[in-house]
Symmetry: C2
């Protein structure tokens, strides 16, 4: 059960356009984040926005992102520049009777904040475990752990889920009353992400079984 | 055939991390953009980045995005604030023999620039057609066109593909030589987006056939 407090919007995390689609339940924020693999991290470099995809992982109300210590965006975030991390799932194409009311069904979480550089060795390992397990559940305990050298090359940032918003659109098109009689098909074409058959690394010994931690995700 | 010039990197659009994954063929930029439905648009508001999902459409080397004339991000972009639009496809989870070398296969296009507000009535209609056809091919001619009132409520922005980069990762994990003998499964779990069965709007007359422009996308 998710017992965290509800989302308390700040001016920045208040959904203004399509406010009816805003959700304020923190469990929904968690669900949208947990369902994604990649977020889009925005940061300001030289006065201009840079938006790059990034893996992430969540533990409670903390998001972890990581990258090379040499990446300019991560360095700026580590230096205290404000960031925005957005995770979006497209769930369907919404066909309306007018071009104007065409839309998409989606779930979107937007997190604003300033990241904290994780330097504590214990939290560093924890954060990398969270990231690894988010991407590939079961992999942390099944694979070789990071070496001291690998840890030194990795920047881990923590972003608290204190300022966030969630927006969700579901359901059929919303057409104008006077268009309902038009002889035009309207409805939703659902989209979803599916996992294909595992492709073993060519360097694996022949006959190596695919473990449940991989196969089980396709169920 | 795509006869546009190759991508000429500026400092901002030069791929630094994982430079081996950079692509410089403009046709690859077009392909990554054309394969997506949603991009993530970054803009700076009050000194902080805001990243929001947005539909888009491409015509030649121009991207169109649109939204409500009341949206703060679009208003800032229309006023000349620099933007960044990023489109990412996640193609697979890359399982390595070490936690550190876990990765994702992906295609990502990043476009930097300053958007131009489209005010010319002809280009406005053209841009909306491009956007509609990108989201729902065939819908522009099959549905009711925008009214004067709808056009007035819509802000259309054009972003030229002059400063852009493309990054692609494909293939198996890249493990350290000394990890290859570990008894750990490694490989790729491919991901793809599939279209489900069309869900007709409940307000359609019973028996309305699903048109080819919708059904044909599932082939």
């Amino acid at each position: 059960m998710d017992t965290s407090p509800p989302l308390s919007p700040t001016p920045r995390s208040t959904v203004r356009r399509g406010a009816a689609r805003a959700r304020t339940d923190r469990a929904e924020l968690h669900a949208v984040l947990d369902a994604g693999l990649v977020g889009h991290l925005g940061i300001v470099l030289d006065g201009a926005p840079v938006v790059l995809p990034t893996g992430y992982g969540r533990r409670g109300d903390t998001l972890y992102v990581h990258g090379s210590t040499g990446a300019a965006t991560l360095r700026a975030a580590a230096a205290g520049a404000p960031v925005c991390l957005t995770v979006t799932h497209v769930d369907g194409v919404v066909y309306a009777r007018s071009a104007f009311h065409h839309s998409m069904n989606y779930r979107c979480a937007v997190v604003h904040g300033t990241a904290r550089v994780v330097t504590d060795p214990e939290e560093l390992l924890l954060g990398l475990e969270v990231l690894t397990e988010h991407l590939a559940p079961g992999s942390w305990s099944a694979t070789r752990r990071p070496t001291r050298r690998e840890l030194a090359a990795t920047a881990l940032l923590a972003l608290d889920l204190t300022e966030a918003s969630v927006k969700v659109r579901t359901g059929p098109p919303v057409d104008d009353e006077e268009d309902l009689a038009l002889p035009v098909w309207a409805g939703v074409l659902p989209l979803r992400t599916v996992l294909g058959a595992p492709e073993p690394c060519p360097l694996l010994p022949a006959g190596t079984a695919v473990p449940d931690r991989v196969l089980g995700r396709r169920a």
